[in-house]
Amino acid sequence: MTGGVNLPALAIFLLFVALTLVITGWAAKRSSTREQFYTAGGTVGGFQNGFAFAGDFLSAAAFLGVAGLYYAAGLDGLVYGLGALIGWPALLFLLADRLRRLGKYTLTDVLQQRLEPRPIRIFAGCANLVVLVFYMLSQMVGAGLLVNLLIGVDFVWSALLVGGLMTVYVVFGGMVATTWVQIIKAALLFGATLVLALLTLSHFGFDFEALLAAAVDKHPRGEAILAPGGLITSPGAAISLALTLVFGPAGLPHVLMRFFTVPNVREARRSACVATVLIGLFCFLMVVIGYGSIALLTGDPRFDAGNGLHGGGNMAALHLAHALGGSLFLGLVAAVAFATILAVVAGLTLAAAATVSHDLYSALRGRTPSEREELAISRAAALCFGALGIALSVAFQHENITFLSATAMSIAASATFPVLVLALFWKRLTTAGALAGGGVGLASAVVALVLGPSIWVAVLGNAEPIFPYQYPTILSMPLAFAAAFVVSGSATPASRVR
């Protein structure tokens, strides 16, 4: 299990790769225009796009990480499980309509409806790339560790495998291939999670109380696994975490870009609603899987090493699959976990390619490239982003994955979200105000992260953090709004007209 080759996992994973490559070949013939490459021609149905949204958003951390958190701390796992869900209402209620109406290919198309195109493209392009690099890094590091555990391949080779495949999907298949990879991955993930939860419940005669009783009896913390376990230590930390989870997703470029793939506003709403339902269902299933892993794995020498699970806490869902369905089911769940990472990084790569070719290139060169030229730049950018992802993931392979993805969410909530929501709802926002707000949000988020416990204490070895909270959003998001209000408010009426 840890380091050896799991043949069923390898076989199912190869099957997934073969299927997705066939789809990429099919999609390549349908990705010859700019619109097809970036947004699948706006032809994806709401139901399909909802699955793709869920596929984009439910990363390996949401599956393996949350199950591991339940195993270690009980109820705290639910907080992170809910974290994947609570950002969606803001996306659906506030942004879905307006994004679909105003956007074309990327987030900056929406912003430039109100603001000066050149500076806003440069700012939004840079902020998006920072968010995407951190988000991708967490996925790539997770993929490397997972493949290393499952099939014994060295980290560098597994990073090359993931990076290579995601680049192929995006370079050749564009949004069409990426969407279908997401849909297949989401269907596989929900199928595997549902079967795992049903197998767990069936072990306890479909009696949830009996499952909880067994978990309480087995866990060293006893009844405490049904109570908050110290994950959130102060009201300030709670508010900061809530701001990150609620507003972070509304600033993630690869998620927002998906609103442009549907034909109209109604389908945009429907797709966000389908994603909310799927992610909500996932939350419920993870409660069963999480407490089931405590009840069935604790004390079993095949999985429990005495001081934790073999292979680490993140292996809880995989060990549970092994315990309930043997090697074949373990192989299926492991392959699904890997497919999950592959699909998420493909979405990130496409968003990065679109940011470079559609936003940054034209803004920096001062001219709009032809469609053919833009597609070539986009494909080259996907290749470069893939190579960068592989190189950075090898360099950061020992970094904390949660910290990397939290960084991306915090920056998105602090830099992108305030500018986007003000551009959509506040008529007095000026270009200077947007740049000031986004710039202050980005800078303060990065500085507070460096001075916080994740870097100042854990990486730099200091005794106490200067900024007390793990997530800087409680400071950086209000600062971003304040800067945008002050600078826009002080503008002359003439400078507001656009």
């Binding site: 109820l75 639910l78 930390a237 508010i239 909310t276």
Partner: protein, 101 residues
């Protein structure tokens, strides 16, 4: 003018729904740090299920149901507006033809 009024009404509904969704999320996460003992209490006598677990799952169910209601209502409203617009265009065309005759 007509569209402006619609836009303002739609924005008000969007913000109201957002508040309706966000306030319980913040309340739940704040409760984890402020009143952990209350969330650790049993949901009912003799049950293993805690208040925190029930409230967390109820929050998830509430967000899903709210999203479904909003989507159904907003899509119905848009379909109604589109039908009214098409009917109005049809009447205009009829009127134009009448004038030409």
């Amino acid at each position: 003018m007509h569209t402006d009024r619609h836009d303002r009404g739609d924005a008000a509904i969007s913000w109201a729904c957002t508040l309706l969704a966000v306030v319980p999320c913040f309340a739940y996460i704040l409760a984890l740090s402020l009143v952990p003992d209350a969330l650790a209490a049993q949901w009912s006598a003799g049950s293993r299920v805690s208040v925190g677990l029930v409230l967390g799952l109820a929050l998830a169910a509430f967000l899903v149901v709210l999203s479904m209601i909003y989507t159904y209502a907003a899509n119905r409203r848009d379909a109604g507006r589109e039908a009214a617009r098409q009917a109005s265009h049809g009447r205009d065309r009829e009127a134009d033809r009448g004038t030409q005759r």
